[in-house]
Symmetry: C2
Subunit: 508 residues, 2 copies
């Protein structure tokens, strides 16, 4: 390795260390930090983010990248070194556009707004949160302006997360999905009696749920020697390095889905992180290709695997052994149906696979309107409620179950929602490819053999870390660009069958 | 505030944030980090320590201190600003002597050696730990050389922790203590039957112990809204700022003392940190005067309060309610005696108040010999065992219960042991002063009124943070220099009475 490459890697390693330490601060804040710790934590977090940004955007890094550009020319596109220079350059050019003080201010604003949002949500009091949201919207507009965009401010933010993707493309994707979802929701609604999910609410001991969920994700392939599971208000995954990737979940006695599917979802993120090649550690390549690709893995494991009939053929017997009371008289097929009950609902994280993307669509539209100042923060609840009525046919009884339900706008994760929908679409496209190469995938799953799927994902996706953009990932792994078609096919087949909708009805 | 003072405080604030974030990393490592996380953690911790050191020792800080020196001249010694410049200058001059790379190497070596020490202790295999200890000894010698010393390398390390104190002074203190302790141990040994502590081993439900210990320390004055208690192999206190000061403890079903007295000990550290004036936050003044003064508070609350007859008059009824099984037929006086049983033992952290300082003395002597290369690491176990035999009259059956028992030499805390003895001595001297101003202190304690003691300590000690050196603290608070006499008087009276030793025998 050249001296310059070593020098660059030293700096990038330090930046990675600082960002990971900052991430430990967030994990701690979400899990164990006492309430009094918030102000100190905001200082610490903001300082670390400021230092990491300032070190990464130093002229020295730009100079090294310039010098190394020639050195890696001629190396294969996917080689570690060529990828390192290419991806670091992209990150660097973008980061240079953001003033360090703005980065530090955003870190602080996000930390301080969260507890206010929590209180506001608890009391269903939007007015309490509004001034913080106002400030956050102003900050994120400054980010968009600093990054620059051709057409719409949202473009700047989307490109930051999903390099190569535009707001127009997202709108096209949502339009295709909406076209498929709306009639399916209506079909399913006419056969609502086909699925009964009352079993999920029969009362499951929380500690036993937590233990069982950890066993399940361990069986899937999440490595607990290099991770752990804790409880937090919102399930999350934290990657502090190849040896320490943690998940969190939550648990409700009266709603089974929260804990197990929360754990499986996060373990999907976790297995992705744990599968990145070790030699990319402490570089910008050690991470997921994008939030959308990352979300494809959480949702693939949660839904395409965890909510499949094959999955419950394997796991239901052990689940029934663990919870004989509430599962009395239930079989695997009935349980599979219960966890897949589809019907319009108010809360995104509890939404079924069919309606989920509508929740994202409405957030995507509102974020754009806020960012383009077509919508005032004070008018947000009304706009929210109108879209819920329009897309889901529901009246929102209060802001707690409406505009205040998500953490994202308090912790500065604007423009992050589309990742969930991208995740659904990407996951289905990837799994279609897996099935073409592993025809008996369901057989493996039904026998509790998850290695074949995990190995395929590691080999084709996980190990590469951030080497490729989402577009490059799809082309390389599936041989074609991102398309909504596999997801639409999947959801029509699955829910058409589950609800006994006639094929013609379920077809397009 | 002048612009320069503001600039200095900004830099010091950042350094404080980084060091606190590093401290969160250690807390996490001690409590929840999965085993695989170690290598990543060593990188993160070492990077943060390196950056903090490099920022603090920048020429800019020296220049600001030079400029501000004139600005604060004429201000009272104890004023915030004068103290800030004085103490920061002392820290700065010392830190400048340490190369940043040595600081980073020490951070890494400490992190990496700990798990090896843990394994070595578990297997009682000194050879496994020896090469790491060898490296650590070499590193700490480099520290002593870099800091410089007049007479002995230990001076450099002691002065770092306890400014103004020398190795000679420590030797004199230990000589005085030894002179008092040896005959007392012998007296107590002749009346060993006077105290029966079998009740402590009757089996106490661990969860109930943890809950009870948290109730006790909350009653004493530890603020759980600005703190929390977790479990770790070694009880510790972590101060991340005025709003977040955490303690850890451990719990054993078959030995009652571990959990409760571990918690009370750490809550003493915790209440000290929580009592520092808020406006010293994010400066070098936000901390304890020294490890010795800090330890005076943990040991004051643990022993002088927690192991007093008055304490158990108040707490025993609720303890008996909580543990009616094991406490059947026991009264408060019997329990008070049991938790004070004194007899030579192998493990420092389980030692009684009488013999405890002998454990420190032998470590102090061995550290000096290691540092002065009079003792080789490979010969350490033998030297350890010989001193245990000489001071405590015991044969060490294995290294687990001998030289491998303490974490300190793995995590680079050399020359930290004397703080425990200083803590005993300082604590007794402070409490003597409290008693002279609050004659009915025991009455307050027996009624569960701990506020009078806590308020006194806050007013006279805690709030000042690091403004004063240990010597200045003793002069200001007690009106005289550090002296062993109050501790010797205390321990003779208490254990003379407890064991029914005749006054003449117990006197000097």
């Amino acid at each position: 390795m050249s001296e310059k490459l070593q020098k660059l890697k030293d700096i990038l390693g330090e930046v990675s260390d600082i960002n990971r330490a900052a991430s430990v601060l967030v994990w701690d804040q979400e899990t164990y930090m006492p309430p009094g710790g918030l102000a100190n934590r905001a200082d610490q977090y903001s300082t670390l983010r400021r230092i990491a940004h300032s070190r990464f955007t130093a002229d020295e890094v730009g100079g090294l990248l310039d010098d190394l550009d020639g050195e890696v020319r001629g190396l294969p596109f996917e080689s570690d070194h060529a990828s390192l220079i290419r991806v670091t350059r992209r990150d660097y050019d973008r980061a240079r556009k953001l003033p360090t003080e703005l980065v530090a201010e955003i870190a602080r604003a996000g930390t301080m707004a969260q507890p206010v949002w929590r209180k506001a949500r608890q009391d269903s009091d939007f007015k309490l949160f509004a001034p913080y949201l106002q400030k956050n919207v102003e900050l994120i507009r400054r980010v968009a302006d600093a990054l620059g965009y051709r057409k719409r401010p949202y473009d700047a933010l989307v490109d930051r997360y999903e390099p190569g993707l535009t707001t127009d493309q997202l709108e096209a994707i949502f339009a295709e999905l909406k076209k498929a979802i709306v009639p399916l929701v209506s079909d399913v609604g006419r056969h609502a009696d086909a699925v009964d999910d009352s079993v999920l609410h029969r009362g499951f001991d929380p500690d036993a749920q937590l233990a069982y969920s950890l066993e399940v994700v361990t069986k899937l392939g999440y490595d607990v020697k290099r991770g752990r599971q804790d409880i937090s208000a919102h399930p999350m995954t934290f990657a502090f390095g190849p040896g320490d990737v943690r998940i969190t979940t939550r648990v409700s006695r009266n709603f089974f889905n929260e804990c197990l599917f929360g754990s499986i979802h996060e373990s999907g993120h976790g297995m992705y992180s744990q599968g990145i090649e070790q030699n990319l550690d402490r570089t910008p390549l050690w991470g997921e290709a994008s939030p959308g690709v990352d979300e494809s893995q959480s949702r693939l494991w949660e839904n395409l695997v965890g909510r499949s009939a094959a999955f419950w053929q394997y796991f239901f017997p052990s689940l029934r052994d663990r919870f004989p009371g509430p599962l009395k008289g239930v079989d695997d097929e009935g349980f599979f149906k219960a966890v897949n009950r589809a019907q319009p609902s108010l809360i995104r994280v509890e939404a079924d696979e069919v309606t989920y993307n509508l929740h994202i669509l409405l957030r995507f539209e509102l974020e754009n309107e806020l960012l383009e100042a077509q919508l005032k923060v004070e008018d947000l609840p009304e706009a929210w409620n109108a879209l819920v009525k329009s897309y889901l046919g529901l009246d929102v009884p209060n802001d707690r179950e409406g505009v205040l339900q998500d953490i994202h706008w308090s912790d500065m994760s604007f423009a992050n929602f589309p990742a969930y929908t991208l995740g659904n679409v990407i996951g289905a496209q990837l799994l279609e490819k897996v099935r073409s190469e592993v025809p008996d995938l369901d057989g493996h799953i039904a026998r509790g053999e998850f290695g074949v799927l995990l190995d395929w994902l590691r080999l084709n996706l996980y190990r590469h870390g951030r080497k490729f953009t989402p577009g490059e990932v799809m082309e390389r792994v599936t041989g074609r660009p991102l398309t909504t078609e596999p997801w639409v096919t999947y959801v029509r087949q699955k829910f058409g069958t589950l609800y006994g909708v006639r094929t013609a009805e379920a077809g397009s």
